[in-house]
Symmetry: D3
Subunit: 332 residues, 6 copies
């Protein structure tokens, strides 16, 4: 496969309580390094796609370990830059039964938030790539991050890359004086493949609609470079039991995947990134829209069975689930 996907965004240290321990019970934290965009790269790498991730880390052992984590998954880390400041952190308390999971963020003043235009040589980074991926988290972090995101999108457009964006509106970010509506439109403008729910569209570009399809149509009118808009519907019966369905609007029709009953969830963080990676994989490998959506949804389901943010499944594993093969079996 000759495709190469470049992702850009912050990676944080995730510290999660062991088992179902609450924060006040935690004598230790499980540690890993992850970020929405890097999760997409790592998942694509497991699908056999060539990937590189761009970010900025503190010049210390935490930054070094985060880099090694990406390398392990085969993600190219050559373009990562290092500087002062700190590694962003998030603390995760796993929910159980009706009790929700909770995240305490401690990400301000991170090395990534101090990234500035000019620090990354985007023409070098993107030179052999076919796809660039960003999310709405990045421009919400700092003016510098927003600027560099724009810089990357413009470089990608110039090189004719397909651009995907996960318009992930996070109310608690956006604390540097700008709002999503100030910043997001100019980034979305050049983006082709979009993940966004109705609320994301409302919050980021002020487009609303009675239905997802209606919102998609309005979105496309405002942002004609958009080719596909996708999202997932999640029904949370409990922390261990969710139902998941994927939606994909391709400019013509609204496709809906089969619904998955997900009981005994192991780790739901990264489920959306796994869906994004599945979507990119489908488009990159020229699957039909229907197949792409089923692939992305099944990929997301499998992610929920894996500890950590990264979907380590192969293309074969996803395709077997799409076909309903080997579900819950013991493969000898």
């Amino acid at each position: 496969m000759n495709k190469r996907v470049i992702t850009f965004g912050e990676i944080m240290l995730r510290l999660s309580t062991p088992g179902f321990a609450r924060f006040t019970q935690a004598e230790s934290f499980k540690a890993l390094y992850a970020g929405s965009e890097a999760n997409v790269a790592a998942s694509l790498s497991h699908f056999g796609i060539d990937t590189a991730h761009v970010t900025r880390f503190p010049e210390n052992d935490l930054g070094k370990t985060a880099t090694q984590t990406l390398q392990r998954y085969g993600v190219d880390t050559r373009y990562i830059i290092y500087g002062d400041e700190r590694m962003g952190i998030y603390f995760l308390e796993n929910g159980s039964m009706q009790r929700p999971s909770r995240i305490v963020y401690d990400r301000f003043n991170s090395a990534f938030s101090h990234i500035k235009p000019g620090m990354i040589d985007w023409s070098e980074v993107l030179k052999d790539a076919s796809w660039f991926h960003w999310t709405g988290i990045t421009p919400a972090i700092s003016q510098g991050a927003a600027d560099v995101c724009k810089e990357a999108i413009q470089a990608a457009k110039k090189l004719n890359l397909t651009i995907s964006g996960d318009i992930n509106y996070r109310r608690n970010l956006w604390q540097y004086g700008k709002t999503a509506r100030d910043i997001m439109p100019s980034l979305i403008e050049s983006t082709n493949v979009i993940i966004a729910g109705i609320a994301d569209m409302e919050n980021c570009v002020g487009i609303s609609g009675d239905t997802f399809e209606a919102a998609c149509k309005a979105f496309k009118q405002a942002y004609p470079n958009t080719t596909k808009i996708s999202t997932t519907l999640r029904d949370s019966v409990s922390s261990s039991h969710n139902r998941l369905t994927g939606l994909l609007w391709n400019g013509k029709e609204l496709l809906q995947s089969q619904q998955y009953e997900m009981t005994h969830i192991v780790d739901r963080v990264g489920g959306g990134d796994a869906f994004m990676a599945g979507l990119i994989y489908g488009v990159l490998t020229s699957k039909t829209d229907t197949d792409t959506l089923e692939f992305a949804t099944a990929a997301s389901v499998l992610k929920h069975s894996i500890e950590g943010d990264v979907n380590t499944v192969t293309v074969d594993e996803v395709e077997q689930l799409v076909k309903g093969e080997n579900v819950g079996k013991l493969l000898r």
Copy 2:
């Protein structure tokens, strides 16, 4: 909040097998210190109520650690006394699927069982309190424990405290020559808020009834100080899946809470104590009976999602579950 609740009862070392290991597989035991009445105090402490627990520990490192456990939860330990003998122990094998959980008790001859009237200065202990709580486990342990329980109830009555009792009939206790029917009536007489099922009433005071409501009416007639009688209905589909409903008879009508489907149970021990704490919290803060019952039931449900005997949830968390908010979500 100016309320203060005093609880009295034995605390044991709980040694549970790790994961779903059977006793014969256990290379280690998870250790914590808990007791029905202290669990109520600890839960109330998490609800923001001022609490103190009274007990007797052996004068050794196990007693010291148990004291530290209570202190951690903010329970006042000033009135705990120390002496010879041993810490009672219970071994817990976690059930799974259809396989039941099992407890092996090793509690005889504990420091608590050697408590004697006069050892505790109840007028000092109860002086700023508004509520006293006891359970039917205490008088079942030894004549001394029964006597001190009576001593406490009488002192509490004299000081006009509200008195609650969890009439928890345990057939395997009551080995010191007295039966529950010999001892319980005089303790129940001065008790206002009662937790008891039909079988508890039958075994402890010889009152029976075709329905819970009928039994409650007869109980009230025999024990006119009773203001509320409550209980929970538990339907055990499997060790990991129970259904829970709360009942509260308030002298006028029988209220029934919503039913909760509890799958993926983490730890059911202490579920009843969490219900009791919710009940006390509701009454103490003048909730309506309906709200009190829903609060207590939701509190009990949340306890099942937490490892250990103690319900560490806050009032907010319980009230969100009552309203069906945030169930099984990921709160960022």
Copy 3:
């Protein structure tokens, strides 16, 4: 109880990933030693039956530890022989949700595969026994293993033992130049109690049938020593949720057990061996066929709640499940 059961077969080192970790995430493996036939012996030993297992181990610390594992369960290890070569290994990745469990075998060239006729003194081994048990795995391993299996069956027949065989067709084995159809008929010929599904019968003796019952009838005609043929039907909703029903054809009618809903499965490996042990126990203790089948099925269900290959439940525990008693309770 004066019954004695002799089992024969390979024992391997099982290395399973911790929790739901995938192979690529495993920083450690949980280790135990198990094999289909030895699992049957160990389960019977927990039922109070006198058992001995015969196998061949490498003369090293792995072989020694495997022997100690059997001794722990009270299985007689006197007849185990030791030699060169290696311990067979299988790596197990636990599935979760829709994601299947996976086994990577690394069992070729094991000490057991080098077993040869004459190495075991079967008349000595079987002298006080009433039952001999083998499985279709053994003759699939090597010519030597097949030969010794036949040697054992012939000796058992001569001593009038009841002989049971779990006709477990494994496509990936049978790599020494013979097929199942070359070897299995002569072993099945003298076997009385059979576990086999339709596919096993087809693959091993070329008997097919539209239904299990039809296949059983044809099987009995071809192999008149057969007294009972049994199997389980497993419906895999997910890795954590299966449904299980037992079938037993006794020459006259096809019996079917109650169906069990198994959610929150802890470990499904060894579920078939637990069924086999239950079947042997029922026949050995002269239960009716119906009771035997219910006993075997309930035993298999309970195995799924226990980590490891061995069913450590007692007869009482199985019988309580058959009666629906204590299901999912907390037994104090």
Copy 4:
């Protein structure tokens, strides 16, 4: 004992790698909450002294857990205040053999660093106290922290408390525009019991000396309220093997403790705080200077045998080590 000691300072989340793992190997971190001054309070609490700690935490579950940690040790947490911002963190990589231990600090912008004069009602906090303790870490954190430290010292002086200060010069702190020499003199001025090495004196107040004793004399001349200056000499043979000696200058003579050979060190962090607690305990209970120094040094040694920052030993345990009793025994 009627003494009460108040300590003031930041508490951080300590995240240490398990065993001897390096940062790049850590799949998890052990978590605890500790700070130099709080360590002193917790150790004194184990010595039977009444203590309270004053600090500022973020209003989140990390702050709540840190509070519970102090409560567990019996330290009064009533005066702790809560606010925005974050919990300071330090990452610890345990050294081994010749390889040094390493700390990565991530403490800027903590809730404590935002403390401001007027937030703490020092007259209330100090009202029944006999001793106030601070360290040189606090004024190095922020102008606010320095101001509040001064506020506390002045209040303590007014109430005639004994004041101790651990003049712990940390080059990496002091980043808010002031130097140690700008700030420390006015804090030291009212302090009576000092822990400081030659380098600390040089860096904080510009006093130098050829020997510790010479420096002490000069220090006393400049700061006449000083009654005792103490320090420890540590000889690091390897990360697991140090030698420790205590020094105490009491205005008249320089006392030196016995030297301890510390091999098989479990955790050296908090060793200085344990020494400080021992010193305070000795002075508070009117031990001779010699006994105080031996007590403090032995306390520090024992701390090295305990995981975590807090010295959980009792007075008896320290005194036995001073006398050389029970060293390395198995006490039944």
Copy 5:
């Protein structure tokens, strides 16, 4: 080897804190089942000697697990009896550096303490045996235990077995109204191989001596059946560093083994039992007294490198240490 050794004594559940955790830090306890006499049997079993252990357990899962533990080591458990009451427990806090290890016993009222004469059929138990071993712990537990110990010794003498006794004086036991001097002489009278230090002799039979040799001579005069008296000298530099030397008086001369420097001790509990097993092995296999003593001492040293009470080393491993071979090597 045709030798068979029978041991008799209590087995307790040992609950030890993980790593170097103190009791107050223990979130879990490592669990194993051990007792001085059973440790001797298990060690001899690893030396290839046929062994059986006699004891009384509670009829519950703890008793069952303890039995399985012995079976694992190949110790014959046929003669173990079961009854009411409880399993004795001891809690172990591992020392480190100068900090001593500590044991909290919780062993009163155990199933073993309720053993009574007539419960064991000693003529059956001892019928094929060549050696019987007891320790001074047993008669200290209860009158019943003392009586059964005497019953066993008398039966053993009648059958001409060699009898060994580890005269292990435990001040905290002997609480049933008799003293060691009341009971021990009649047990020692028929004992041939003795482990006792000077203090043991003084406390149990009132024999004292300026030196070990002098005491031995007096002992032999009083108890002429004595053939050998042995003990170990232990010098505790720290909890992790001891020095060990063995002494053996054979009626003619006092032999002294080489001294071992034991640093990095893993677990010292059971070191004496490993010595005893070595001694028995040496005498049983007709080693010279010098070789026996060196073997026993080296066996004891190796035990200190193994977690748990049981010395799992082989004869080869002990003999290599005696010769100084392979010490601290990496054997490929």
Copy 6:
């Protein structure tokens, strides 16, 4: 740094018992993937050198995980090939005190052992490299491995790379019909930098000498391409305490490094590979022979403080140890 080092050799799954557990006690194994030559590559990668490792793995999840392990360290894995067969395994029991560590190998029939000439395109692999490294383990595994090793050395020579060889004679290998003396000479012939002890030289090329220096001189005469011969002297006081000295003969003189006292060893496996990596680093970066030797020896010492086979230290860390800086400190 523009240097690139290529290493070639087998990687095995290492399964080690946790803590100081013996094989018979292991309920789990710690798992990692390592091999002598790959350890050298990984260490050099931590020194900032560009590296690639060449090997053959089974086409399964174990092979995939091993590849990811190398990637994590930044070792280029592009040239690794995959095929049938199995992953070689070695089981490691950690020694303690006098008790030696033990390895049980299970490596025959591995995917690597089936490597054949022509499978690797050496001219492509070596094209930008400056150094090729092999060890004596490889030609001992199989004829194919020996042939490919020769193929690689010849290609490297043709491209004028420096060639290093660790002449590591392993008596238990060499089972395919050839002896070391048959094969090794032709490989050594083109090798420049040699690690070999006296016994290795004797066993592999039949050269002996009274002293290491004498043997080196004879070796150089026989193999004139040799530029340096190095080795380490290890004195095993116990499993936790070794002494290490490095030797380097440079054709003119024998250099000897400082001796290191290594107590509290964490993991000695890979110590020789760390030395080799240090040696290569020194020569590659044109250090003097003395500095190279001190660097290599200090690197090896630091490896002993790190769990796993790979030396994860940086150049700075090694150089600080050479200078005696920061030894055993706590670096803040």
